[in-house]
């Protein structure tokens, strides 16, 4: 139970300490110390009313003590030491929530992307370095170096601990969303449930930036996708949307995701994440309205200019009942190195009764497949022709 409180509080406590101390390593050290004290004291005297404020105040006091002891480093302290707090003062409303500053610092585009991802998970998500390493299938040493490099660059180059000004905000919000979505998409690889972690970060962001439609769009997209994860594989095999066992879908999370999406739409959101969430929501209906899905993919293709989105648009056209038009659209795309281009062509040709051409397309897709589930799926398709 304590562990849950700690996970819940870590991001906020750390953000407040980075803001106060101006240094990631010192903040982490102080936070760890405070959590260790809490683990002992709360077991005997119970959890305080405002655990977050208790942890921040304790950590600040510890950090100040430590800095006083290392007097030569005293100039590193950005602010004057806060007066010693008494228990009565442990009020959450007195501790400014600085998690937004922390997110923008961790996702600063001057940092390498993998460093942004690792630092976000470590500081805001409260994941241990070893857990992050496991999730990204690298050694703990490698992950530690990645984190250290990112923290050093923040310190040495003066990356600000601040919410960017209005003229920078749109592109920086995009950068933050990209990091969170990347964490979500990494979720299928490792053993740590990064999907759930990304959703947790999405919730934090939606609380901190309630007026940003794309923040709600991304959160809704991740929630609706995540709700279907158990139906996506059968053992080792990929299961396509049409064949998924819907009793495995988490309907409560789909409903919750739709509520988040509604907020994004109500804010006037028409961006790429909102549109993708709309598509995910349409595809989670009992009967899928394929013409609407196709229209949404059209809009997404216009927003992103991505040929992969064009391919999905074509698939929706086929599902809406016009495989010939779909094939015509697919054949205009320049995606020869892309597995799903060939498997989609194969499927469309099969539906049009052009079996020989379909076989050629599926064979080309099979050549490009790298994972066993993909290879098995395509081999099955070829056999059925």
């Amino acid at each position: 139970m304590l562990e849950e409180v700690f996970r819940e509080q870590w991001g906020r406590v750390l953000a407040s300490l980075v803001g106060f101390l101006g240094d990631f390593d010192r903040a982490e050290e102080a936070a760890q110390e405070a959590f260790a004290i809490a683990a002992q004291r709360w077991l005997t005297s119970g959890e305080p009313d405002n655990p977050g404020a208790w942890l921040v105040t304790t950590a600040r006091n510890r950090a100040i003590d430590r800095i006083r002891r290392e007097r030569t480093l005293a100039d590193k302290l950005h602010l004057l030491p806060a007066p010693e707090a008494t228990v009565d003062e442990f009020d959450d409303t007195l501790i400014k929530d600085e998690r937004l500053e922390l997110i923008f610092t961790c996702c600063h585009p001057a940092l390498p992307l993998e460093g942004q991802v690792a630092l976000t998970l470590r500081t805001l998500g409260g994941l241990q370095t070893a857990e992050i390493a496991r999730a990204f299938l690298v050694s703990e040493e490698t992950m530690k170096r990645r984190l250290t490099r990112a923290k050093n660059k923040i310190r040495a180059t003066g990356i600000p601990f601040a919410v960017p000004g209005a003229h920078l905000l749109p592109e920086r919000v995009d950068a933050v969303l990209a990091v969170i979505y990347l964490i979500y998409n990494e979720g299928y690889r490792g053993r740590v449930d990064l999907g759930a972690e990304a959703i947790r970060l999405g919730h934090v962001l939606a609380t901190l930036m309630p007026g940003e439609p794309e923040v709600h769009g991304l959160l809704a997209l991740m929630m609706i996708h995540h709700a279907r994860r158990r139906a996506r594989f059968s053992g080792e095999d990929l299961v396509l949307l049409n064949d998924q066992d819907r009793s495995l879908w988490d309907m409560r999370q789909i409903t919750a995701g739709r509520a988040v999406l509604d907020r994004g739409l109500a804010l006037g959101g028409r961006g790429a994440y909102v549109v993708q969430a709309v598509i995910a929501s349409l595809q989670a209906r009992e009967r899928i309205d394929w013409p609407r899905v196709a229209a949404m993919y059209r809009r997404l293709a216009n927003l992103t200019g991505s040929p992969v989105v064009e391919l999905n648009h074509a698939v929706a056209i086929a599902q809406a009942g016009d495989p010939a038009a779909a094939l015509h659209a697919v054949d205009r795309l320049d995606l020869d190195g892309y597995l799903y281009f060939h498997s989609t062509r194969g499927e469309l040709l099969r539906r049009l009764g052009r079996d020989a051409e379909a076989r050629t397309a599926y064979r080309r897709a099979l050549e490009l497949a790298t994972s066993t589930p993909e290879q098995r799926f395509l081999a099955r398709r070829l056999q059925q022709l």
Partner: protein, 112 residues
């Protein structure tokens, strides 16, 4: 904090611009040098004028030409005073070379 902005570009890029673009680029460079955050700035002579110097075994060795043989060469540098990296990046983005196919490397200056 102080940052060094090192300006890289293909030699002759500025001559290759249209008259209008070139005039705007020069005006931007002058405006940049006038900005009070600009501590110092210099444009360098072409890379052909470079001499690399090494000292080995007490002897001074010289080679003709710039250190690295790349298409983009160091053409100038500025030293700026900025509150943080974001401000330094904004200044760097105003340097014309950055939008005419070149690049500006931003490096914080070591403090002692």
């Amino acid at each position: 904090m102080q940052y060094a902005l090192m300006i890289y570009g293909e030699p002759g890029y500025i001559e290759a611009l249209s008259d209008e673009e070139r005039e705007a680029a020069y005006a931007d460079y002058f405006a940049f040098a006038e900005d009070e955050r600009c501590v110092s700035a210099a444009q360098l002579q072409p890379a052909e004028t470079a001499t690399c110097v090494r000292v080995a075994g007490g002897r001074t060795l010289m080679t003709d030409g710039p250190f690295a043989d790349t298409k983009e060469v160091l053409g100038g540098f500025c030293l700026v005073e900025a509150a943080d990296l974001d401000e330094a990046i904004e200044l760097a983005a105003r340097i014309p070379a950055a939008r005419f196919g070149g690049m500006v490397e931003v490096r914080p200056v070591m403090r002692f």
